[in-house]
């Protein structure tokens, strides 16, 4: 179950980052609710996942899903650049961040 929690946590993070776009487009209660519930869900399920998985592993995978998912969601829904160099550099950051969390 913990892996399912972890995937849900990652998706929550993607919704949270989409909430950032929503808040910047329109400062409404809907946008803020979207943003806050996305990140809250994310933390809640990350905590659940950490109950069973090693903390470093859970944290690393959560970061990977959340950051990659947010970049992809931005390209699909918000017209963010799909330039290959942008994707490469975001990939480098994700690989490094996941690696750092795995080894600590």
């Amino acid at each position: 179950m913990s892996w399912v929690y972890l995937v849900i946590a990652g998706i929550g993070e993607v919704f949270g980052v989409m909430g950032i776009n929503k808040v910047n487009q329109q400062k409404s209660i809907f946008s803020f609710t979207w943003l806050i519930s996305g990140f809250l869900f994310s933390f809640l399920f990350l905590t659940l996942a950490m109950g069973e998985l090693p903390m470093g592993t859970a944290y690393a995978i959560w970061t990977g899903i959340g950051t990659a998912g947010s970049a992809i969601a931005g390209m699909i829904f918000y017209g963010e650049s799909t330039n290959w160099r942008r994707i490469l550099f975001i990939g480098m950051i994700i690989a490094a961040a996941v690696g750092l969390k795995l080894i600590t």
Binding site: Y78, N83, R85, I90, G91, A97
Partner: protein
Amino acid sequence: MNKSWNILFLAGLFEIGWVVGLKHANSVTTWILTAIAIYLSMHLLIVASQKLPAGTAYAVFAGIGATGTVVLEIVLFGEPFRLSKILLILLLLGGVIGLKLVTDEQAGEQES
């Protein structure tokens, strides 16, 4: 554009603050400071995303958080210093610098 990058960097610094806080806070004061850091980091991340693509901003934000936490754990809490950590931090820095260059270049194209 540069201002947004500075704001984003600041958001990352506050993120380091609350990640360390969640792990080490042990009094009402430190918990309040942790909560303030969570609020400020999110607020500044949103402000930076007004000018920068949210996907870019979030990747850099998460990267600064990961690096800063590892560095602080080494400096303040006596975690072991390893070559692999330094190499990963260099990879991450390369990604952030590259991303900044690509983003500024594209923004310039749109303005002209």
